[in-house]
């Protein structure tokens, strides 16, 4: 500043520097924080939204279920009820565990007392050929019949392949409950809207796995991307013989079963 001031005083008759320039610099100084704010805040905001921005088009979710690992503890059923506020009384389940008992004469018995939450009572009949547990849930079909029948567009398939229900627009007509070949839908007794498994969509967008997968103690449930190569689900589907439930319905389910018995419906 010193040389400038001396030059100014030398050139101009006035001893002070040019008031216009001083005014300009002063204003610049005042404007700096405002300018920074205008440019900087959106930048920071953009960075923030980039970190937790979720791009649904980049994902396609599916679940693997390994029948040979399921021990029928029904921790998944209990965890699902907690995580998704499912009414605790029986008959309301997003996921449930069925017990199959195939007797020597070919008779098939299926039961799921309270979805398996109270355990499975011992069987009276000792004449059993084979028996196992089958966890069931919404199959998140690629061609979902429930979406097709909804008269108000209240149930839909998201871009990442999860079937959700719009609570505000569902009129509770139960068409979807009828249409689902897997019995995965139910009507909420208080809200009077259709309810179902969402793959814990609120967890997926945070990068977490569904609650049932989180608590499964034996790793019988595997969650991941269907189309990517390096995910636990891709590995599961590479190393197991995979079947889906009711393939003849052409619903293209995204819940894949390994070691599934032919008797399972």
């Amino acid at each position: 500043m010193m040389p400038e001031e001396t030059r100014n005083s030398a050139c101009s008759p006035k001893p002070e520097p040019d008031p216009d320039r001083r005014e300009f610099l002063r204003k610049c100084g005042l404007a700096a924080p405002v300018l920074l704010g205008v440019i900087g805040v959106p930048l920071i905001a953009a960075q923030d939204s980039e970190s937790d921005d979720y791009d649904a088009t980049e994902h396609l979710y599916g679940m693997g279920v390994d029948i040979s690992k399921c021990i029928g503890c029904s921790q998944c059923v209990a965890a699902c009820k907690i995580e998704n506020d499912v009414p605790s009384e029986p008959h309301f389940f997003n996921t449930w565990v069925e017990r199959y008992i195939i007797e020597m004469d070919g008779e098939v018995q299926v039961d799921s007392p309270n979805g398996g939450m109270d355990g499975f009572p011992p069987t009276e009949n000792g004449d059993v050929r084979r028996t196992f547990f089958v966890p069931k849930l919404c199959n998140q079909c690629d061609e979902p019949p429930c979406v097709q029948v909804c008269p108000v567009g209240a149930t839909f398939k998201t871009q990442d392949g999860v079937i959700l229900v719009d609570d505000d627009y569902c009129i509770g007509c139960r068409y979807c409950v009828q249409a689902c070949p897997y019995g995965a839908r139910w009507v909420h007794p208080e809200k009077h809207v259709a309810a179902k498994c969402t793959f814990c969509y609120h967890r997926l967008v945070e990068g977490l796995v569904p609650a049932c997968v989180e608590v499964c103690p034996t790793g019988a449930r595997i969650f991941g991307e269907v189309e990517k190569r390096a995910t636990p689900l891709a590995r599961f589907m590479r190393f197991n013989d995979i079947q889906v439930l009711k393939p003849q319905m052409n619903t293209k389910p995204k819940v894949y079963y390994a070691n599934l018995d032919g008797e399972v419906r």
């Binding site: 399921c70 998704n84 499975f120 059993v128 998201t158 959700l164 969402t198 796995v209 609650a211």
Partner: protein
Amino acid sequence: MWKPPSFQGSKVPQQVPRLVIAIAAAVIALVVARSILVPDTFGELGHYRAAAIDAVVAREKSFAGQQECAMCHFPIMQARLEGNHRGVSCESCHGPAAAHVANPAETKPTIPDVREFCPRCHSYNMSRPTGFAQIDPVAHNPRVPCMQCHDPHAPVPPVTPEECSACHGQIASQKAVSHHAGLECTTCHVATDEHKMLPHRVRPSKPEDRSFCGGCHAEDSSSPGYIPRINLRMHNPRYLCWQCHYPHFPETS
């Protein structure tokens, strides 16, 4: 002289302008009705309200996920990863912990140290996969809390000779919880290699007389003092020991 055009004389039939007005009114009514009735974000991503996704995403989560647990409880996590419960996530036993993660001081997850908890997975059930560790909660050390013998973060299965238990699993698991748990199968039986090849044709040996049991249980035996003793000559001499006592699960008193 100019005359106002009359529909009577023109080529346009008189019903056409009326129809045009009626159709225009209907179209306007439709547009207005649509703008009022169709929700804001409907059709943005498909035949549904895009905002409905936000409503689902906004749901509160109860389970935090075990990555969150590892942030603070890393050592116990590490111990668990080396044991047989390596695949069991924290919240599988301790319950939903999102509230604990949000406020570690005030809300604590449960510690399921009651005997009723572990059998949820480990009680015997015919439908469970073969090889999964199972016990009969009634017979297996009644009233003793599971954690007194088993560390839930690094549980160890009872050791039985693999060779015998491969086929005789029921006997092995029964013996494992009995007073004879410390005895090898070969203490009382001699199983030759032929038995493993032809299990039904070549049988292992079994004790044949009372003096075999007397080796440990007779009054003059040199076995350790805590082993119950009987007088071989006075104690029901007409019977063989195993006609009253089941050697794989002898009486507790």
